[in-house]
């Protein structure tokens, strides 16, 4: 008789364990959730990067022939086609009763010629599209770019004809003008700003001394000296401005007309259709750098975001400097010193709930209490000679930082408390048993070990603060503040100044500007920058924390 094979008791008799019992659905659910979030983050970053960074790439210029159609759709006999020098922006598809219709938005530039800077063209009407090598894009301080063919250059020494092969004179002139422009900027930001400050101080002193005759005389002398210096500086400015005035660039625009542009306002001239890849890359880098390192122009729709970068960074750093000690001290008190009774628990619940208060409420509090009450009192006490013009009694850097510090305080407290709770009681006992007081134990054992947790708190605080905009609009952020809150003039960090912020800049450029199409790429670029900056600040703090954590990794 055949021996019956013994069944393996660990193999179930019937069907294998059901799909559901193995927790498979949950797994799939989790996995798809994670994938979806990653995809969304990836899409966001891609959108910002593609749109933001591509803006600085020298895009090709087209010579576009459009069939001129009348309102009834019939061909216009006298002028069958129209030539436009344009840059492609985007194509949109719309469905009509007659079928699908593709139309493309082109940028014609030359805003100040008044022919319309942007134009929608029905793809059916495009007769021809070419990329002539001689087309140039002229980037200007005002009025956006100009497109055309180089014609001639007027200099104080005469007129030079320009052609694609002979444009050396143009670039030399541009270099010269650039040098003068940066000298003017230096004079403006250095000497003239300093004189302004001195004049203001003098004015205050004058008001303070009242009728004291000998002092008044001295002040008068001082004033005379100042105004002489002022006149001198202004004369220098004027001279420099005049020295670049006689330069004019003539372009032939798409209609065939000649157009004279003052070279003093020209920033760069590109010939994107004949540029090599390396040249394009170079130009891209230059434009990107200009974006990062200069102030905005044309009511923020052009130029750079440098003041906004500085404003954001300074504000966030100041906020961390304020929130870190307060949050850490509060957490230490709550966890190490306070009796763990219902009162402490109530405070803790309160702190946790503070994190959920809408941020605009903090803005209102900052304005109502910090700016008007605290700032107003400060002004009365220390800056009474400047009144009625407020010093700290108006929105400014300090109040914005403190408001955000309040906003992020719960984050730091909670993270620090968690860190403190993780430290085993035995370490405290060990230190106390050696005769250390509670404070010594705290200072020498607990705080060093809890530092990474505190850093985590500050990191979270930074992450939250760097992206916060709403409360800032009430307590110090403005649309345009070219003067940086930090510079080389005493007291270096100007706590009372209003400042620019990348988050608010995105809002302003994107939604408050008149020229949406021109500003759109800058919105992406600024948003990307804000993301990069936030990540950068976070990364910095994370690295710092990991460095500290190394030391206690066995705990």
């Amino acid at each position: 008789m055949a021996k019956k094979k013994r069944r393996n008791p660990f193999i179930p008799k019937g069907d294998p364990q059901s799909w559901f019992a193995r927790g498979e659905p949950l797994l799939w659910f989790n996995a798809s959730g994670v994938t979806l979030s990653l995809l969304l983050v990836g899409a966001l970053l891609y959108l910002l990067t593609a749109n933001g960074l591509a803006h600085f790439w020298p895009k090709p210029l087209y010579s576009l022939s459009v069939a001129a159609t009348g309102t009834d759709g019939s061909e216009n006999e006298s002028e069958p086609t129209k030539r436009l020098y344009v840059e492609r922006v985007r194509t949109e598809v719309s469905t009509h009763a007659t079928g699908e219709q593709r139309s493309t938005l082109f940028r014609r530039g030359n805003r100040d010629r008044g022919d319309g800077e942007f134009v929608w063209v029905n793809d059916e009407n495009v007769v021809s599209l070419s990329r002539p090598a001689e087309l140039v894009r002229v980037l200007r301080e005002a009025w956006g770019p100009a497109y055309g063919e180089l014609q001639s250059l007027e200099t104080p020494r005469g007129t030079v004809a320009l052609s694609p092969d002979a444009d050396q004179a143009l670039y030399e002139a541009l270099d010269r003008i650039d040098a003068v422009r940066s000298k003017m900027a230096a004079l403006e930001n250095g000497t003239i700003r300093k004189l302004n400050r001195e004049a203001q101080r003098l004015y205050q002193r004058e008001r303070a001394i009242g009728g004291d005759a000998p002092l008044a005389e001295e002040l008068g002398k001082e004033q005379a000296r100042l105004s002489a210096a002022f006149t001198g500086a202004q004369r220098d400015m004027l001279e420099m401005a005049q020295s670049i005035e006689p330069y004019w660039l003539t372009l032939r625009v798409d209609s065939g007309e000649l157009w004279r542009l003052p070279l003093a306002s020209v920033l760069a001239v590109q010939h994107p259709n004949s540029m090599s890849y390396v040249e394009k890359l170079e130009s891209w880098a230059l434009q990107l750098w200009a974006f990062l390192s200069t102030a905005p122009r044309e009511s923020n729709t052009e130029g750079g975001v440098f003041p906004a970068i500085v404003g954001t960074v300074v504000m966030v750093l100041l906020m961390s400097v304020i929130v870190a000690p307060f949050g850490v001290l509060a957490a230490i008190y709550l966890h190490e010193y306070a009796k763990q009774d219902w009162k402490t628990r109530l405070i803790r619940i309160g702190v946790n709930n503070l994190a959920g208060v809408p941020s605009i409420v903090y803005g209102v509090f900052g304005l109502g209490f910090l700016v008007y009450v605290v700032g107003g009192e400060l002004d009365k006490l220390f800056y009474s000679d400047a009144l009625p013009s407020p010093t700290f009694g108006a929105p400014g850097l300090l109040w914005a930082s403190i408001t955000l510090a309040l906003l992020t305080l719960p984050v730091v407290i909670v993270a620090t408390e968690e860190g403190l709770a993780r430290i085993p009681q035995s370490l405290r006992d060990g230190s106390l048993a050696l005769g250390a007081t509670r404070f010594e134990t705290l200072w020498r054992i607990i705080v060093p070990i809890a530092t990474p947790a505190m850093m985590t708190g500050v990191i979270l605080a930074i992450a939250r603060a760097a992206g916060e905009v709403a409360p800032l609009m009430l307590v110090g952020v403005v649309k345009l503040a070219p003067a940086l809150p930090i510079d080389s003039h005493y007291p270096y960090l100007h706590l009372d100044q209003k400042f620019m912020h990348l988050g608010y800049h995105v809002f302003d450029v994107g939604f408050q500007s008149a020229n949406i199409e021109a500003a759109r790429p800058l919105v992406y670029a600024t948003a990307l920058l804000l993301v990069v900056l936030t990540i950068g600040l976070n990364l910095f703090a994370v690295l710092l924390r990991n460095h500290l954590r190394e030391k206690y990794k066995a705990l």
Partner: protein, 272 residues
């Protein structure tokens, strides 16, 4: 345990700088409540002599650690803990309201059941108590650190890694490091709460030898679950049960000829 695990000093310890040789401890009518209902110690009275090793034995939860923690007032840390009765060290009441507990704890050192080195270097661990005490000069610190590590029979193993993190040491080394840290401040009374509970036989032996050597300069009070260990190292042994000291006698007599039935049951392994 075999004969080669005998307790003979292998090296002579350097003399204690403060020349003191421990304190006599007397406990009178000590009761301790963790809260209103749990009485962890019930009318404990003991006389503990200097230059002797006194062991507390008893079943888990009988209050040995609690009693030990009374000697350096670690129970003060616990909220709601209340004490009645008196503990005196060389006639001085340690629960007098004006006593500074950090001063007391510098004289009454404690080694905990689980090794708890600080997450810093080996050197800094040993120097910690000295720095707290205000010693700053590097030369003196070096000297005391070496002396303490030698006394704890750890010097040879760590002399080349003094700057390494103490958490990288093995469990047995960590326990000896904690002992070194405690004797570095030269207390008079040493409280050891199951110092060898997590150690292998060799490390255990080293610690027992250490206790034997330290005896002449300290009052040593040790809690242990290991009856043989208590018999080997202690001069006096107290058997505790449910918060009370049932029997307190010389180790010889308690282990060979217990007077109380409960003691006998416990040491012969008939308890619970």
């Amino acid at each position: 345990m075999s004969a080669e695990l005998s307790l003979k000093p292998r090296h002579l310890l350097p003399a204690k700088a403060n020349k003191r040789t421990g304190m006599n401890v007397s406990v009178d009518g000590l009761s301790l409540y963790y809260d209103r209902h749990t009485k962890a110690l019930d009318d404990v009275s003991l006389r503990i002599k200097r230059q002797q090793v006194t062991a507390f034995i008893g079943p888990s939860g009988c209050g040995k650690s609690t009693l030990l923690r009374c000697f350096n007032r670690m129970n003060d840390q616990i909220e709601g803990c209340r004490i009645e009765g008196r503990i005196r060290m060389d006639k001085m009441d340690i629960y007098h309201p004006r006593v500074d507990v950090s001063l007391l704890r510098r004289r009454v050192g404690m080694v905990f059941q689980k090794p708890n080195p600080f997450p810093m270097s080996v050197y800094e661990n040993v120097a910690y108590g000295l720095r707290i005490g205000g010693l700053r000069r590097r030369r003196e610190l070096d000297e005391v650190v070496e002396r303490s590590l030698r006394a704890a029979a750890l010097w040879d193993e760590v002399k080349d890694r003094l700057n390494e993190n103490a958490l990288a040491l093995s469990g047995g080394q960590q326990q000896r490091l904690v002992i070194a840290r405690t004797i570095a401040v030269e207390p008079d009374v040493l409280l050891l709460d199951e110092p060898a509970s997590s150690l292998d036989p060799i490390s255990t032996l080293k610690i027992e030898e250490l206790i034997y050597e330290l005896k002449s300069r300290y009052t040593i009070i040790i809690v242990t679950h290991n009856m043989q260990q208590a018999a080997r190292v202690s001069d006096m042994t107290a058997f505790m049960y449910q918060g009370r000291v049932i029997e307190f006698d010389t180790a010889d007599r308690l282990f060979t000829n217990p007077k109380e039935k409960q003691t006998e049951d416990y040491i012969t392994g008939r308890y619970g």
